[in-house]
Amino acid sequence: MKTIIEVKNLVKNYKSKRAVDGLSFDVMEGEILGLLGPNGSGKTTTMNCILALLKFDEGKIKIFGKEMAPDAYDIKSKIGVVFQDVAVFDELTVQGNIDYFCGLYIQDKNTRAEYVEDALKLVGLEENKTQYPKQLSGGLLRRLNIACGIAHKPKLIFLDEPTVAVDPQSRNNILEGIKKLRDDGATIIYTTHYMEEVEILCDRVIILDKGKIIASGTNDELKSLAKIEEKVTVEIPEMNPKQIGALEQIKNVSAVSYENGVLKLVYNRGKNNLADMIKYLDDNKIQYNKIFAERPTLNDVFLELTGKELRD
């Protein structure tokens, strides 16, 4: 696998505020790399540094094996960017907007017309192509924003929180579209603070906090970092404090809570966790209804690594 982007020791300060603090990572050809981090963790800043929009204090950035620079037009022509904020012309139709931005990359009119159609199809805006941005719902507007950034069929795509404030239908459409771009051969850097998206979409994830990488790897690799093995929820109509205390003594249990008829147990790594619990409930003649078991999420990983929630 080829390395598409190499970032070495990137440091970026805004005046005295350090926004990116010594980042190093590679992006491999054909993968969807997730940049996951809470608000203000430096995701957008990192992206803008890679794109040579921002000056940075230290570090080296190579894209397609060459040093990235503002006038590296050959590199830029192979990149597509969807910024965090919607950037379209209210005076142009959906089609006009895509054609304008695509035209900054593709000169040939016929090729461009084809590409615009493809982009409309990818984001599902064929029906809306003669509408103006003001007439689109928030979700459709986001889709247009994406179409404008990727219509020229770039090899490398940056997406900065493209699903913020989007309805579930548009979100699914967007995530499907991104997968399709990857399947068509693009390499994608996907920035978000929604861990669910990262879990569905990304081949590899980098978790950022305060401008630093606190963990990276595939979803499974990251989850294996978590000390917890699973979280179990049991509906129990009645329990007394003594029984709850007893549960805490069971092997591997790291936390117990009981509230409104719902018992929550967090287990550390170990074998037969669920079986041991059920045995205890049966032995003590405690009635129970439903049992759910969940694997740890990236949020749990983040919580363990930083002591705070990924999302507020």
Binding site: L54, V88, G103, L104
Partner: protein, 386 residues
């Protein structure tokens, strides 16, 4: 690439209702309003009847047609003259004391006028007398050919009046003080053209905002595309400049041909001045867009202040231009509004083009200065923050 960018810059700008209203509609509406306001001023000020005298000697007694006609012009609410009938000596005395603007006497069966200075009132008097002479000619012809029973019926006082008024309106004021009111009115129209040119600063700052990543999200898109920023900037500027120039030239045509505002005859320079004024405003807008960090209202406020202060000093709100020129001469020499206004003023009032070239040169210098100040900002490629 340039034309792709130009095409979209042009079509998006032309569809921007707010900007197009201020550029293409508002100045016309204002011109119409000015026109209405000054038409009233006209009626009121210029055609206030003024004092004249007629020498009532023997010659006068014989000139029957003249007698009738002049009497008609000296009677009623719409009269041109407040006429005294006096001896020639008395008339000369009155003129000497400036109690009358001029007097008429008949010698060799023809009316002659005597005035002390040249001015619009004197022009009115001369025109009226000339009109009367022409009319008498017609009447005499009719009388000798016995075409009508009552030749005097052909003496049309209304016609004479109209012609005299029209003549004043068209009178070539060779000397500045010649027609004070006219003078003020054209200046106000010229400041309106200047104001309309200044709108170009709003257009160009909008267009530059679009192209720069620090000013707009769309600018970020352009910054990451493999298109040179200079190409996008140049095409955007050309789009805003061409729309502006069409608007300004249309406004001038509207003033000249519909409202009858005088510009002098030098069509080429009239257009060149509009082009230079629009250029200066366009470059100012670019500079503001680059110098100020955000795409905020601050830019528009600065443009409005520069425009309105310029208009004040150039005489939009009354004919104080001369006063400002003498009190604070530098303002009108560095304000684009002042330079545009004074350029048109010079083209209209002066045969010699020296003063005009100074104004044109001033506008070109302003354009060059803002262009040079902008280039540094345009060449910046990476930002400390965006």
């Amino acid at each position: 690439m340039f034309w792709h960018s130009f095409k979209y810059a042009f079509s998006t700008l032309i569809k921007n209702r707010a900007l197009m209203f201020w550029t293409l509609i508002f100045p016309f509406a204002l011109a119409l309003m000015f026109n209405l306001a000054f038409m009233r001023l006209h009626d009121y000020d210029v055609f206030e009847p003024f004092e004249v005298a007629v020498v009532n000697d023997a010659g006068y007694d014989k000139a029957e047609i003249f007698k009738e006609a002049f009497k008609a012009l000296s009677e009623g609410d719409e009269r041109l003259f407040n006429t005294q009938y006096v001896s020639k000596e008395r008339a000369s005395e009155l003129l000497e004391n400036e109690e009358i603007e001029g007097f008429v006497y008949i010698a060799d069966d023809e009316p002659h006028i005597q005035v002390k200075k040249n001015g619009s009132n004197q022009t009115v008097l001369a025109t009226a007398v000339e009109q009367i002479m022409q009319s008498s000619q017609i009447i005499e012809d009719i009388a000798t050919q016995k075409l009508s029973e009552s030749p005097m019926a052909y003496l049309n006082a209304e016609q004479i009046y109209q012609n005299a008024v029209a003549t004043v309106a068209e009178a070539e004021p060779n000397v500045k003080d010649d027609s004070r009111v006219m003078n003020m009115v054209v200046i106000e129209f010229y400041t309106l053209i200047a104001m309309s040119c200044m709108q170009g600063a709003m257009l160009s700052s909008e267009m530059i905002d679009r192209a720069l990543p620090k000013n707009s999200h769309r600018g970020k898109r352009i910054a990451v595309a493999p298109t040179r920023k200079s190409v996008v900037v140049a095409s955007n500027l050309l789009a805003s400049y061409s729309i502006l120039l069409v608007g300004v030239l249309a406004l001038i045509a509207f003033m000249r041909f519909v409202l009858g505002v005088e510009f002098g005859a030098n069509l080429g320079l009239i257009c060149a001045h509009a082009a230079a004024g629009s250029l200066a405003a366009t470059m100012l807008g670019m500079f503001l867009s680059i110098a100020l960090k955000t795409n905020s209202g601050a830019k528009n406020i600065i443009v409005i202040i520069i425009t309105m202060v310029g208009c004040l000093f150039a005489g939009m709100f009354g004919g104080q231009k001369g006063w400002f020129d003498s009190m604070m001469p530098f303002i009108n020499k560095i304000s684009p509004v002042g330079l545009i206004t004074d350029g048109y003023y010079a083209l209209y009032y002066y045969e010699d083009l020296g003063r005009y070239w100074m104004n044109l040169g001033g506008l070109l210098i302003i354009s060059a200065v803002f262009l040079i100040l902008s280039i540094r900002g345009l060449r910046r490629q990476r930002y400390d923050s965006i």
